[in-house]
Subunit: 152 residues, 2 copies
DNA sequence: TCATAATGTGGGGAATTGTGGGTAATAGTG
DNA sequence: CACTATTACCCACAATTCCCCACATTATGA
């Protein structure tokens, strides 16, 4: 399970160094093989260890190709999925198309989110967090059923 | 179960010495491994022994990444979660991002709250207590259902 | 009151990690 | 088939982090 945020940077070759604390478990789990795709709701990328991605892929196959919304989800996620292999120095190469989708330049944030990572441009990440905090302050009502009883 | 408040201080490297009375049980429970994240409603940090945090994380996995409010909670909590390992002297390092969120400078309060600790800047803590006391005096109404039957 | 232990605080230095680029291999293109 | 562009691998330096030790300060008990 991944957690935490870290600032990383893309070098001139488009390589991104995975923070060292994640490397061991990635090598162990999937020999450094990962899959990167776009997020549908936010301007960020999703980075899955291969086994985790395969679970997602499995779920996607159960969706109907008749239902337009489900078909769309398949097309977006699968269509943008790229294999990424960690090199010996613990870096991965992000394809230009993907880089563009999340508007990634030099300064990137990599965010652990349980079974995957999110990749954000630093500025977009900060904006998102600011917006999220504001939203949390605002609506004490309108909580989903699941959230009503969430205790920390 | 943790309880009580203690004044502690951050040194120049951002290290915080855990009060000695908690150390033994922390070493026993989780070998000094803890997770620190932000509080969503208050300007303070939450510090969990690893096993306690894993319970929270477990709950977070059940939330949907399609529902915006649930996704937001994941992003805020997990995105700010940092592993903290107690060193030989019983100190933990608080990441700069987190320090900033709770406006922590040198003088800190560490508050035992059952399954976790809260970390407050000393001044914010006193303000919060004052405000809480005032609020209790004021509204005898507006108690939640659970509080109606609470006996001390 | 003093001695001893336990806790709090500070800082030096080694090991790990981040970063940049050179070169070889591979694939893609005309 | 040759040429170019991209990708992978490797090495080396810079920077940071973390680990450990030593001293100061406070608490405890004789």
């Amino acid at each position: 399970m991944f957690r935490g945020a870290a600032a990383v940077s893309l070098d001139e070759k488009g390589r991104l160094a995975i923070p060292a604390k994640y490397r061991k478990s990635l090598l162990l789990d999937c020999d450094g093989q990962m899959v990167c795709t776009i997020d549908i709701k936010q301007p960020c990328l999703l980075l899955y260890p291969l086994p985790q991605w395969q679970i997602i892929e499995q779920k996607l196959t159960t969706l109907s190709s008749m239902n337009p919304a489900e078909r769309r989800l398949q097309r977006l996620l699968l269509g943008h999925a790229e294999d990424c292999q960690m090199d010996k120095n613990g870096r991965i190469l992000i394809a230009p198309t993907l880089r563009q989708h999340a508007d990634l330049s030099k300064k990137i944030m990599i965010i652990g989110q349980l079974n995957k990572f999110e990749l954000w441009s630093e500025s977009a990440w900060h904006e998102q967090i600011t917006a999220d905090m504001a939203a949390e302050q605002a609506d004490d009502l309108a909580l989903s059923e699941r959230l009503q009883d969430f205790s920390l």
